[in-house]
Symmetry: C2
Subunit: 439 residues, 2 copies
Amino acid sequence: METIKVGLLGLGTVGTGVAKMIFDNQEELNKKTGYAIEIIKVAVKNINKKRDIELPQAVFTDNPQEVVENPDVQIVVEVMGGLEDTKDLIIKALQNGKHVVTANKDLLAVSGQELFEVADEQKKDLMYEAAVAGAIPIVRAVKESLAADEITEVMGILNGTTNYILSKMSQEGADFADVLAEAQELGYAEADPTSDVEGYDAARKTAILASIAFSSRVTFDDVSVSGITKISARDISYAKDLGYSIKLLGVAKREDNGQIEVRVHPTFIPNDHPLAAVNGVYNAVFVKGKALGDAMFYGRGAGELPTASAVMGDVVEVIRNIRSGSNGRIGCTCYNEKNIKDVNDVVSKSYIRLLAKDEPGVLAGITRILGEHHVSVESIIQRGGQSSGCDECEQGEAEVVLVTHAVRHQDLKAATDEINSLAKVIQVYNIVRVEEGGN
Amino acid sequence: METIKVGLLGLGTVGTGVAKMIFDNQEELNKKTGYAIEIIKVAVKNINKKRDIELPQAVFTDNPQEVVENPDVQIVVEVMGGLEDTKDLIIKALQNGKHVVTANKDLLAVSGQELFEVADEQKKDLMYEAAVAGAIPIVRAVKESLAADEITEVMGILNGTTNYILSKMSQEGADFADVLAEAQELGYAEADPTSDVEGYDAARKTAILASIAFSSRVTFDDVSVSGITKISARDISYAKDLGYSIKLLGVAKREDNGQIEVRVHPTFIPNDHPLAAVNGVYNAVFVKGKALGDAMFYGRGAGELPTASAVMGDVVEVIRNIRSGSNGRIGCTCYNEKNIKDVNDVVSKSYIRLLAKDEPGVLAGITRILGEHHVSVESIIQRGGQSSGCDECEQGEAEVVLVTHAVRHQDLKAATDEINSLAKVIQVYNIVRVEEGGN
Ligand SMILES: NC(=O)c1ccc[n+]([C@@H]2O[C@H](COP(=O)([O-])OP(=O)(O)OC[C@H]3O[C@@H](n4cnc5c(N)ncnc54)[C@H](OP(=O)(O)O)[C@@H]3O)[C@@H](O)[C@H]2O)c1
Ligand SMILES: NC(=O)c1ccc[n+]([C@@H]2O[C@H](COP(=O)([O-])OP(=O)(O)OC[C@H]3O[C@@H](n4cnc5c(N)ncnc54)[C@H](OP(=O)(O)O)[C@@H]3O)[C@@H](O)[C@H]2O)c1
């Protein structure tokens, strides 16, 4: 049986999973691809580190160039992370005639275009299923299964750390900081959680999803991002009262005029929406298509073996392409002009929570300003003093929660700025978008 | 731009959807495939019927041979249904050098092997994404994305009609016969609902899923099937009390020794299992893999455009293969010996509902028999007379509901047969399997 020779850039969490799968499933992989798979070169930072997997010492190198320049390597699996240097390595690998499978969302969300152009020129495969939503095969679903449909909306829970935190806050009524500390202890959140809790990680995946769903070139910079650090136990409790769950969602929509909305933010979603039941470290991607209707893909967004399963699905595809001489067969589907909608023009329902003096006329003042800015109100909750369920209120203060009808973001912002400056309003604490459309 | 010439067998619900998508999405399809797509021949039963779509009269024929023999047709889309004749048509199409896309689960579940062998011989594509769970791209996910993993379990809500009926029964506390009649009026159930309510349709899809998940050749005959006609409002009400939903599930599991369990039956699933929230006409497939962990795919299982979206995803794939000269690139992955486990040896928890005389010693008699057959009991509910919530009980009767621990089906059957013959037991009404494993 002929052998396919693989080089790994990185043997950390994901790389180790990939190596394990290649060893453990060798026989089935042979049968499915017609080839044996051999790992002949592995670049790591520290070649002396004790590894969770046995590989001959000779395959290790601390020089990644030795992987991308090795003339025998046919497929490079890039699971080391990083930006500029890694980009150069991938480009060099492609130019040297190798196919590349990567899990690197950070890189793709910024430099995808450049990389895909090189892959197309070279007629080589560049695959990245693991870069979005880990084990969930959403990239292949969108690029292939749904290729004939017009996708209008993609909405995803794309970051396990923040979903774990929000799920815990919701189950236990706990506050953000406490749950974050606990998640860090358990290893569900990193020591520096910025990229997760500020929504950057989700934004990178959203950019990639928007690109493939709309055959365009959406990058990280195009995504308007806000994280979950301002979400409090009170917001979650109001969400429950109103029949919603709070999730950090990556949202990408395309209008018939071609304008693309692309944003990441905490979102109220109705409890009967399929995304509302996605808890803990699970990820899920909800897709709406003109023919498809609604669909959802659910699974593990990270972890050694789940992520490796996505990487290895790509490796199998590359080998099947090698077998049939069809590498590069799909190529880049990025023919549409990018037309990103200004986030100020985005229209959605919103939730507003504020603290005000418990005096006559306060509500009238607030609703007058909303009306002047074309913001109409769907529901209002007002709770005065501690006795009536407002923990944060002092004597003589009241908490006011409003849910608006669909409103242009710019109008909402102008209205809430003005409300915040009212003498009787102590502070507008939070504004959260509300998505509609449950079962 | 070169043209790909398509012939349709059938222009009913799905065929019309396919034609609409080819017309409406022509421009995007051109860009994604590099070809224009033209429908040059359409076989229907009645060429004079008024159609929902405009096609030149000359493309119509009532002789399907004219499609599969037409030398210009490159892809045959089979959406007419049927068994023997249709099998011959597909074989002829493949032998005449055409690729075939079909939605015909009835045929594949019985004669798949024969068809795939011809396709492999001819190096032609034979694709069938729409045959399982309509719009949900589960076939491609299993055959490609999860190709490197070892799938251990597939469980699906695969029939929209029965899921609609069970969801309605559960929401309204209504009985099977009433909801079925309503579903027939609304067009959600056919005049002859046998294939749906007896579980045959789900069994066909389960056979196909088991085949691709376990790289084997599972056919309709291998599936042990029971339908939903015996499920009553009372069973649903007990399920709720116990924290479960009732779904008609297609279940396929493979043990490490290679034995395959494949069965369709009403099932209690815990409310926190992702399948429990799948209601109405939606379908969903839950997959467990050694690397993947748990994943779920959710979407519309039928309907003109959702089903057409799956068919057209396959058509796009065939065209991309034509473009790169790689048709037949994946081929049949059916190398594993089929080793079906006897349904009597299947082990699962079970729910039992029976009516007995409300006399001392009844429960002791029942539990003694269960014990003798190695059936241990997890929970018991006993309700006597009408006042304590047993609608079906007469004076002096009691309803007994038991949930067992995991038990071999054969032991359970022997035990319940013996219980049924007890003088104090009026009737064992229902036995339903219980699946575990929520979030
Ligand atoms: N972890 C997940 O669940 C997950 C999920 C989806 C996507 N991803 C993506 O997958 C990639 C890898 O993630 P990971 O969690 O596996 O990372 P990791 O555990 O930190 O592993 C990184 C690996 O790369 C090696 N490495 C780093 N810099 C190097 C350099 N300059 N030269 C040579 N080797 C170098 C490290 O060597 P040493 O072993 O010697 O330190 C290590 O083996 C990232 O792009 C990440 O975003 C990860
Ligand atoms: N409907 C769904 O949502 C769905 C979902 C998944 C899979 N499927 C599968 O897709 C296939 C088609 O389903 P459908 O609902 O579209 O069926 P349908 O509406 O009954 O359409 C069948 C079509 O085939 C034509 N036809 C039937 N027998 C023929 C014959 N002997 N010669 C020539 N033409 C013939 C009919 O012609 P006339 O128009 O002249 O009657 C009609 O156009 C079936 O295999 C079904 O199981 C359907």
